[in-house]
């Protein structure tokens, strides 16, 4: 190297090394020119603004995360020629490099004198404007599609953010949902054509009258994954496609949600101001898309009316807790896990690695892709974004408009429109309301499991709801009325054609009432004579309230909890309560300690749970206890102690009645035998107590022979 070039490098070392070594711009005795570059990303783009980078290095003297919207880069413009030549380029993972042209700076500037300036030791700051920059995603799939239609063609156009992205190719695969009937790739994967599943495949069987409920499982929901390959980092994005938006079935909707109507001959009888929509007839159902807020009146071919209240979520008033309305409910719901569902995620209570954007559809009032005034839509309208990562204080930093729709609050379940008219008040009791979030297998199987349980059809049995005493444990509305949760069963009278409702979610779970502090399980008073349940089984109180007999009746109507507790029987001669050992009382979790686990809300026994105590295996049923009980029952029948009016294979409480006076040994014997017969699992719940009850009955029958 020649001396001259060495001197030149020597000089450049001296000039450039100083700032690089200090790591910051030179403080200036003269004015510092700055600009703010506000960097934003499209909603749902997954661009990592927390990893934003910029060139040339040194141009940015301060980077500040604005409350919700993105990142502000405070750019020092002292190196004007270079910035004029190169501009400022901003990059972030998932985005195309975006140049910002700062050459168009005007001489019009506001010169302010400040005593403290966060990024400069100079005293004069020349402000030269705020530049808004939106980073383009490397590939943009266009966001989730909420209402493609059943058995409908769709086309996805992938928009590359820059030329380098456009030169690549995209591979696609379906990662969840029922396999799509067809999926064709075109233009190196930048265009995808497919067809959604038909309605009959997703929701087989006859459609209920009125608004057809749809859950993630039945709405024809699939997730497609796109993987970009080319000159650049491999980029993967996902998009959720649905044939229809989720619907609770409650006639209270946001505008522009397409719903299906079960029944025939639907038409719009009355529209609100500005409404123009009509019902569109299809094969076996009708489609309706309300295009204005207000009350819509629809009627079917027989003139039966359906009133539908329509309003955006963000325009629904949240004054449900007014003193003349529901103050107690509002107060009780305030600390609920549902009210705090998104709050807890944003504040990091579920861990630091949970992405809040995943929670939009089920932790808030929101259907992504639908202009419903919910969380997603408000954020899109107002150009907002959820914090990328949870942290303390994140909830407070949200704008008011997002907080008001950022929970599973009143409008999420009851709908944003008005409260349904009286004939449809019962619709809120259906499992369909909860299914919009809790029926999303494979991850959320609660509703699907429940539908396979006997709880789902308890009100279908003949005579099951004919009387209040029966309806109390055979129907959700009856149960809640008996508890006093519903003012009167009549106000939510469920049409027979709408059944079965079964014992649905609202029976066992107090979504805005007093719960036991776990899974919103309802807190109830226990029947007399039981006392308190052990702490491990506290949540079983809800089960005991129906599965323990009413001691005031002649025959027990349920007994599984009685056997489990070793209570409920009577000494046949003196009528004193008969108690016994309860070997399964302290199983962790109580009833669901055995009737849960891998079976979830099917409430079937999970035999793996038994091995914790029964390491040698659970005794196989010999049938002796049941056979003995049936034999005794036949003998009671033959002696005219009980009379069977119904089918003999039905449970005693449904088919038989006791003829003898209650306070007689024979009647007590019938009670004890029925207690065993009512519980088909008596042998496992408490074999010893079951035998004791039958022994008592045998003594009576022997002595009175």
């Amino acid at each position: 190297m020649s001396t001259s070039s060495g001197l030149g490098c020597f000089a450049s070392v001296l000039v450039i090394a100083l700032p690089a070594c200090r790591g910051q711009t030179r403080s200036a005795a003269r004015s510092n020119e700055t600009a703010i570059v506000s960097v934003r990303t499209p909603l749902g783009s997954e661009i990592r603004l927390d990893l934003v980078r910029w060139t040339p290095g040194g141009a940015v003297v301060r980077a500040e995360r604005s409350a919700v919207n993105g990142v502000d880069l405070f750019v020092a413009l002292k190196d004007r020629p270079r910035l004029a030549r190169e501009g400022l380029t901003i990059e972030a993972p998932g985005a195309c490099p975006t140049p910002v042209d700062l050459r168009g700076l005007t001489a019009e500037a506001s010169i302010m004198t400040r005593d403290t300036i966060p990024f400069s030791s100079g005293k004069r700051v020349m402000s030269l404007g705020v530049y808004d920059v939106e980073l383009k995603p490397w590939i943009d799939l266009g966001g989730d599609r909420a209402q493609l239609g059943f058995d409908a063609p769709f086309t996805l156009h992938v928009v590359p953010g820059c030329d380098r992205a456009a030169a690549g190719r995209i591979d696609w695969r379906q990662v969840s949902g029922e396999p799509l009937p067809e999926l064709r790739l075109e233009q190196r994967g930048f265009r995808v054509r497919g067809r959604t599943a038909p309605l009959g495949q997703m929701r087989p069987g006859p459609l209920p009258w009125g608004i057809v409920s749809l859950s993630p499982r039945t709405r024809g929901q699939v997730v497609l994954e796109a993987t970009w390959h080319g000159d650049g980092p491999t980029t993967t994005r996902r998009v959720l496609l649905s044939a229809a938006a989720r619907t609770t079935g409650v006639p209270s909707l946001p505008p522009w949600q397409r719903v299906m109507l079960g029944g025939d001959g639907w038409r719009v009888r009355q529209r609100p101001h500005g409404g123009r929509a009509d019902v569109e007839q299809r094969d076996g159902y009708a489609l309706f898309i309300p295009d204005a807020e207000g009350t819509w009146k629809l009627e079917d071919a027989r003139g039966k009316e359906l009133r539908v209240g329509v309003r955006r979520h963000d325009r629904a008033r949240l004054d449900c807790g007014r003193s003349e309305c529901h103050p107690e409910i509002a107060t009780a719901a305030a600390p609920s896990a549902m009210t705090r569902s998104l709050f807890r995620i944003l504040e990091g209570e579920h861990g630091k690695d949970v992405d809040p954007s995943c929670a939009v559809s089920c932790h808030a009032a929101s259907e992504p892709g639908l202009p419903d005034g919910g969380l997603w839509h408000v954020a899109w309208e107002d150009d907002l974004a959820l914090p990328r990562l949870p942290k303390r204080g994140a909830w407070s930093s949200l704008p008011r408009s997002l907080r008001r729709v950022g929970s599973v609050g009143c409008t999420t379940c009851h709908g944003p429109g008005h409260i349904p008219a009286s004939p449809m008040l019962w619709s809120i009791l259906r499992v369909d309301v909860c299914a919009v979030c809790h029926d999303a297998p494979p991850r959320y199987r609660i509703v699907e499991d429940w539908r396979h349980s006997r709880m789902a059809t308890t009100d279908l049995r003949p005579g099951a709801i004919d009387e209040a005493a029966c309806g109390r444990c055979h129907s959700t509305d009856g149960f809640l009325s008996a508890l006093g949760v519903l003012a009167s069963s009549a106000t939510r009278s469920v049409p027979r054609t709408a059944r079965p409702l079964g014992i649905a979610c609202a029976a066992c779970h107090a979504v805005h009432g007093e719960d036991v502090g776990r899974s919103l399980v309802r807190r109830v008073s226990l029947p007399d004579g039981i006392g308190a349940l052990p702490a491990a089984a506290e949540a079983s109180g809800i089960c005991v309230s129906c599965h323990f007999p009413d001691t005031g009746s002649a025959l027990p109507a349920a007994s599984a909890a009685a056997l489990w507790l070793g209570r409920g029987g009577v000494a046949v001669f003196d009528g004193e309560p008969l108690s016994g050992r309860a070997p399964h009382l302290n199983v962790e979790g109580g009833c669901v300690g055995c009737h849960g686990g891998s079976t979830g809300h099917q409430f079937a026994v999970d035999r793996d749970r038994c091995r914790g105590c029964h390491a040698d295996g659970v005794p196989e049923p010999t049938g002796s206890i049941r056979a003995r009980a049936e034999s005794l029952w036949l003998e009671l029948i033959s002696r005219d102690v009980v009379r069977v009016d119904g089918r003999r294979d039905e449970a005693p409480h449904a088919a038989a009645r006791c003829i003898k006076p209650v306070a007689t040994p024979e009647a007590r014997a019938a009670w004890n035998v029925a207690l065993v017969l009512e519980d088909r699992a008596a042998m496992w719940h408490n074999a010893e107590y079951a035998r004791r009850l039958l022994d008592q009955a045998r003594v009576v029958l022997t002595e009175t022979r």
Partner: protein, 260 residues
């Protein structure tokens, strides 16, 4: 020197002669949404932004910019460029701080001289009934929101209990506007289909905070002080005149006698 120069040259080759300056690592910090803007010109503790100016109230306040116990004082904002939508400030004296207006309220969407703000600012997360009155926003509510976790109150409001009724009254003397041209916007809340705020650009209107050249260029009950329309001392407690009792009127949410 012969050995030194090549060594320096090598150093230069490593650091400068061919390389881009490496990016200076500036970590992204969270400003917490607010920036300090100390109001060293405040006179006492009873001060607030009015439009895009600032006023202080108090008995016996004196100064060339004072009259009738109302003073016009400087309104500082954080250094640097003004963000879109302007600054929303709260606090008095050294405790004063500002945040971007769009951090807590939606931007205006304009079509010519008509602008809509879909989710207008409100004192907190409750349902509020609000009205625009000569450049001030007055809001009333009775109860907090149901079914959601309330966030912190919005800064910059002056609030008080409503006289004779359950509930609160809040007053915003520096409401959001489509631009900084105080005095040319006629705004109103639209409650029919849900709360939105509609602003229409008109000619010069009597508006709090706007410039005034003659005394009657100000809204009723406001005063032209140091060239700007300023309201009487705010103490929000009323929604209608009937809340105040005999011989008093509800003026910008405050019970007071009418100005002569």
């Amino acid at each position: 020197m012969r050995t030194l120069l090549p060594a320096l040259a090598s150093l230069g080759a490593l650091t400068c002669c061919d390389a881009e300056p490496r990016q200076v690592g500036v970590p992204i910090v969270d400003a917490g949404g607010t920036l300090p803007a100390r109001a060293t010109g405040d006179l006492g503790a009873n001060c607030a932004d009015v439009g895009r100016v600032r006023a202080c109230w108090g008995a016996d306040l004196e100064g060339t910019s004072c009259r009738d116990d109302i003073c016009l004082v400087p309104r500082p904002v954080p250094p640097g460029p003004t963000p879109n939508g302007g600054w929303r400030c709260d606090g008095v004296g050294r405790d004063r701080a500002c945040q971007r207006r769009t951090a807590a309220a939606a931007p205006f969407v304009c079509n010519g001289d008509q602008c809509i703000q879909r989710h207008p600012r409100a004192p907190d997360d409750a349902d509020w009934d609000c009205v625009d009155r000569f450049g001030a926003v007055i809001c009333s509510t009775t109860r907090g929101p149901a079914g959601t976790v309330p966030g912190p109150p919005d800064p910059g409001w002056l609030c008080g209990a409503r006289r004779g009724h359950a509930g609160r009254i809040c007053l915003d003397l520096s409401p959001d506007l489509p631009d900084a041209d105080v005095g040319r916007w006629d705004c109103a809340f639209e409650h029919r289909t849900g709360t939105m705020r509609l602003c229409t650009r008109r000619g010069v209107l009597p508006t709090l905070g706007a410039a005034c050249r003659v005394p009657d260029g100000c809204p009723p009950d406001a005063r032209c002080i140091a060239g700007h329309c300023l309201p009487p001392e705010p103490a929000p407690s009323c929604w209608v005149d009937g809340d105040c009792g005999e011989a008093m009127a509800c003026i910008f949410g405050t019970c007071a006698g009418r100005a002569p």
